[in-house]
Every structure is written in structure tokens, then in C-alpha cells.
Assembly symmetry: C2
Homo-oligomer: 242 residues x 2
Amino acid sequence: MEETIHLEQVLPEKIEERSFAIIGEELEQMGIHLKPDEELIVKRAIHTTADFDYAANLVFSPDAPSLGIQALKEGAVIVTDTNMAWSGINKRKAESLGCQVVCFMADEEVARAAKEQGCTRAAASMEKAARLFGGVQTAADDDRRDGKPSNDTENQKKPPVIVAVGNAPTALVKLYQLIEEGRFHPALIIGVPVGFVNVVQSKEWIISRTDVPYIVARGRKGGSNVAAAIVNALLYQTSPGR
Amino acid sequence: MEETIHLEQVLPEKIEERSFAIIGEELEQMGIHLKPDEELIVKRAIHTTADFDYAANLVFSPDAPSLGIQALKEGAVIVTDTNMAWSGINKRKAESLGCQVVCFMADEEVARAAKEQGCTRAAASMEKAARLFGGVQTAADDDRRDGKPSNDTENQKKPPVIVAVGNAPTALVKLYQLIEEGRFHPALIIGVPVGFVNVVQSKEWIISRTDVPYIVARGRKGGSNVAAAIVNALLYQTSPGR
């Protein structure tokens, strides 16, 4: 086979660079021009799936990428809804920024709460995240409060939160409710659950909000790998190096 | 939004069942009829990606699903090329069968070997897997040896190996070489790396072999999530229950 199927010779450390170049070339051939602040996110989603649909289905609230990057620079807590997404996030890079990456899907308390409430563990894990990390004020909120002194324990000590949902639409629906109830105010929601039951709807719920920044993969597609790729794309834009 | 976007009411424990029913209906509408032994694998790949391309691009060597299920029942070692794929595999189910799930991507020795050899860590991790688990004879090999007594330490004590590659084509290329050199004989290769550099070619190399069972996602698509989904689809067919 070595003779009939030709391998491209690329050094290990150059494979990703070459991949991104190919993605860029093909997007250009398709006549697709990405916005500068969204470009590396969209390309990384395509890189992780080989699916160019993400050039069309990823939708961003205004300034979502820069707000996400800012939150990471402030040492955000990154909450995922799957251990797979957790695994896919570059923890070394996250930790270098003081960011913590957490997933409560294997948490005993979450399993118990889900059983008691008849909800999914993913939904219960969002409840837990809101309880631990909720009540956070964003920089924008602080501005709106016009210098009114904030409550130190409530608003100052907690880091911003980025929630990355790659699997469970029930997690997005729960997030919507928690925000509605004023119990959670993530700095960014990455809403890319995948699937066939309430996935499309849950994403439209998040897109309908004007008070929370989001990056959403409209439609059925998404996944834990896409969630991790988007987080990594933001992480890699905080500073050079991995 | 609750009023304008309607959520389908499905109990948490019924979401997957409902998803598979939708996938089945849509495949039928597309006029796609899956082979019985491949059906649950293809549907789970679609379930994890919402991408119906997998109905066309997943290719199977003869009896690959049943050989994979047999290997799992015999307590196979499952080797993955990413921690994400490792995370996505149902370890409880695997362990209930005596199967071990391993990934060497974070292994110090592998990192060192990759650096020394100028290869990817994924390729070096396949070397390590071959060293630890290689030289295995399959049931088919035993039959071919016509009752010739086998060497206990070499052939009998080592479990069969399933290699699930969801990310790195370099891992597949290395696997091809290890098999060629007689150093590794996996019971099944799940070859679903994703991407743009040598991904298509590495899969065709595996497909060209007639001596190793494979399940391959032809083309560029695949991923750690797809690799895990295929392993889980096989695991769930070994016996009822998760």
C-alpha cells in the first residue's frame, strides 16, 4: 500500500498548522469569509469534526469571542456537561491562566439530585454549578451599577464562569431557567449539544436571550469534541503558546 | 421563549431511545437500509454527531462487529489514541466484562519516545500498546493452527486487543507497520481519525488489509467521540444492561 497511497510528509508539530491552512483554503474556495474574531473558533470546530457545516451553523452573540477570552484571562471557571469535553480541554493552558475546569457528571450528589428531581444528571450538574459559582457579576454589570459598591463576598471573589455544553440539551434548558431566576450569570455559554430530542429548541432558547453572551451551534450538530474545541480556541487566543 | 419554542416531553431515561427512533425513521425516509450487524454501530455514530454521513462512510470488514463483540466478551484490552475517546467509553460496562480501557497519550515514556523518534505521541503510544499487548493470536488464528499446541505465555494469557483511533492518522499508519512487521495483531481496529493531513490515506491503508478486522470511517470525518460511540455500540451488544 505504501506505493499506491501517498502520504503527505508533514512534521508532527506542523500537522495542525497544515490542517488549518487546508481549512482556510477550502473555506475560501467555498466563498466563505469568516469574521476575524470568530475565525479561529470556527476553524477549530471544523478541524475537530472535518465538517464544514460549522462555518454556517456557529452563531455568536455580539463580542462573544472577546468576552470569552477576557473571562479566561480573569481565571474563569469552565464548567462542562461531559467528562469527554473536560478531557478535550487543554488543562495545562487553562491552569496557566488560573482557570479551573470542572465537570459534575460523575458527582454523587448530582446523581442523587437528578434521581430525586426526575431530571437528567446534566441538568442537576448545572444546578450545582449555579450554587457553587453563581451570582457572579460581569464587568458589564459592574459598569451598569454606576460605581455602586458591590458586595465583596457575593460579587467580587467569585471568578467568571464559562459553561460549555456539548451533549445535553437539558443542561441548556436548565441554564436558561437559572438565568431567568437570576441565580446564574455565566460570562459565556458555549451551547453545542448534539442530537435529536430538544437539541434544536434548547439552542434557540439560548439564542433568544440578550443578556448572556453565547456561542451556539444552531441545529442538531455539536458534541463534546466541539465544545472542547471552542474552549481551546478561546484559550489559545489569550496568549501565545500552548 | 417557553411559549414560542415547544419542548418535546421525554423522560430522561427515554431520551436515547427516542433519539434512536428518530434516526431510524430518517434513515428509512432516506431509503437507507443498514445491515443488521452494523445497524447499532452506525446509528450510535449518527447519534453522537447528528451527522448522517456516517451511514455512508462507515465501512466494515467481514464480520467486524461480531468479532469485536466476541473480543469484548473475552475481556479485551481497548486501546485509544486520545483521553477524550477513553473518557467517552462506558468503563462500567467494559469492566463488567473484564475489559481494560487504556490510553497512553499522557504517558511520560511515550512522550520521550515520540521526541526521540520524531514521531507523534499517538504513533509512539501504538508502539507501547504493541509491546505490552502485542503478539496476540485471535480465535481465528487458533483455528488455522489446526490444534497445534500454542505457547502459553505468548498466545494464551494475553487478552485480545481492540484499538480505537479517533484522532491521529499517524496512529493508524503506525498500526499498519506494526501489523506488517508481525508485532501486533489486534482483534479489531476502529479507525476513525478525523482531519485533513493523511487521514483519508491512513484509513485506506487499513481498509487495504485483509488480515485484520476493521471498522473505518472512510474520508475525513471521525473523531474521539465517534471512536467511543463505536466501542460503546459493541459493548452494549455483549449483553443487556449498561
